[in-house]
Symmetry: C2
Subunit: 334 residues, 2 copies
Amino acid sequence: MSLAKKIISGDRRALARVLTLVENGDAHSKDILAELHPYGGKAHFVGVTGAPGVGKSSLVNFLAQSLRVLGDTVGVLAVDPSSPFGSGAILGDRVRMADLTGDDGIYIRSMASRGAVGGLAYATGAAADVLDAAGFNYVIIETVGVGQSGVEISNHVHTTIVLVASGAGDDVQAIKSGILETADILVVNKADLPGAEHVLADMRSNVVMNPSPAPSDHHAKSKQFDGSDLAWRVPLLSTVARSGDGVDLLIKSLLQHWEYLENSAEIDNRRRTRIRAILESLLRNRLYTRFMEDISRKQFDALLESIVLRDIDPYSAAARLIEEKYKASCLDKA
Amino acid sequence: MSLAKKIISGDRRALARVLTLVENGDAHSKDILAELHPYGGKAHFVGVTGAPGVGKSSLVNFLAQSLRVLGDTVGVLAVDPSSPFGSGAILGDRVRMADLTGDDGIYIRSMASRGAVGGLAYATGAAADVLDAAGFNYVIIETVGVGQSGVEISNHVHTTIVLVASGAGDDVQAIKSGILETADILVVNKADLPGAEHVLADMRSNVVMNPSPAPSDHHAKSKQFDGSDLAWRVPLLSTVARSGDGVDLLIKSLLQHWEYLENSAEIDNRRRTRIRAILESLLRNRLYTRFMEDISRKQFDALLESIVLRDIDPYSAAARLIEEKYKASCLDKA
């Protein structure tokens, strides 16, 4: 049986193996992903993002467990390189949690940020596709919400949950730089800490009442904040991830958002945005790999040296390299 | 006079304009960068990275001012999207600082993380080249050290300073995930806070005494920790960025690192690594742009739709698109 077939039949060891192949950018992984493609398209992809320390891992833990209790299966991808996942203690907690449930209904996987061929976003997207094809109802992607990764993740999921912590002043500041606009659901975590009311009020006035315009260039989400029936109002929730308080309301919002996506044309938009991002990554990587295969190491190194010596600038060098290669390849074929 | 010539002659308004063009990926910017290229290659590129909240901005402020007092000119690129740069208050401080000095010897620029064509790392590298050609002795790039950006920045600078804060337990955790290995200089900031001794001791035993092996795939830095003359021992410093304590020793280490780079073959390695990263970005973007120009919107959208409908998988679709296009373009020319 092929690895893809094994995954579809529920083989967890095959799943783990393929996720490793995907992460490493193994050449074989594309064939497996292609074979899995017809079985995907059913899962609800959920992104959980926010600055380091806001409690993403704890919240994802509770979210996964609660969804499981409701009868759903959940795959989790932890992409945050600063996530406690990477360290011993909390990884232990997660493994223990998975052990305790004693079933195959929860699958947790940490994505290494290094060495992911074609970029981490691409590898994560492909890994989510694998979990989708494996039959998980929910695929939760936990990613650190700073830098581009936090913004990019919204292109790879159906629902983006943005987490802000109360108590830490600079978290609010951090979060003000472009991530809030990607939120479908806004969560103020650590709501039991002093200052929670202040953060909630701040969010309510600055974000919910006067939403920043969604950046139209980054994703095709159309969010309206008016009262029309098929519009989505970004809910502002508060949770205490350590104890699980508020997770029930978060799940309610998650279900409502899925309902909204399915009842509007929005689900198609998001699926298209996601596929477009994957296709673009694939094309970029293939074009570059194909190009470099035809260029000798010697030729490339000589060019590098000329740039370092300032005999030629990189912009002219890149243009020249492409022109020469295109001409040569067509002459070969003609 | 061309914009490039104006920049070289010290025109700060031309500098600002070109940095905007670079950031926006304006087509014209490549020509300007090409014209500037022969004038570059002199500046010392310094990366300052670390988790949000460790005090990068304050430290960079002191560092820039102190270098200026020593007679050097300093350009600063703040890439951290969660940096206080983005918000009013501290941006005000920085502008005030620049105003106070009343000279053109310090130039500060915030890089927007969104919409940077070809990626933020590429735009930042190009912006650093512009500041280099403009004659700044130091170009300091401040970047958030989580996700890939923190790791990538070490490919774009000659010296990487990694900042860890004392007092915050999860900062140390965050920093353990791959950024420490990129450090040429390690700084424990907020050394006046309780717990500083603990963090320093932790760093000393875990990092300095038992250094993790440098990831050979990511950059060509060869770091040795033995006693040979041309080896670089990563120094462990402590600072209080709010007051400037320890910045003098940091500058001393910075000068020593430059001396080490120049006396070993390492400076050439790093220049080559940097140029290679720029050339790769350029090739990837040009190849993709060129490819997409020849593909009709209609053709692309139809393919997207087939993938969404699961008639074809993205991997086969990308391969097919490339094959068809290559064949067609050569037939045209033959």
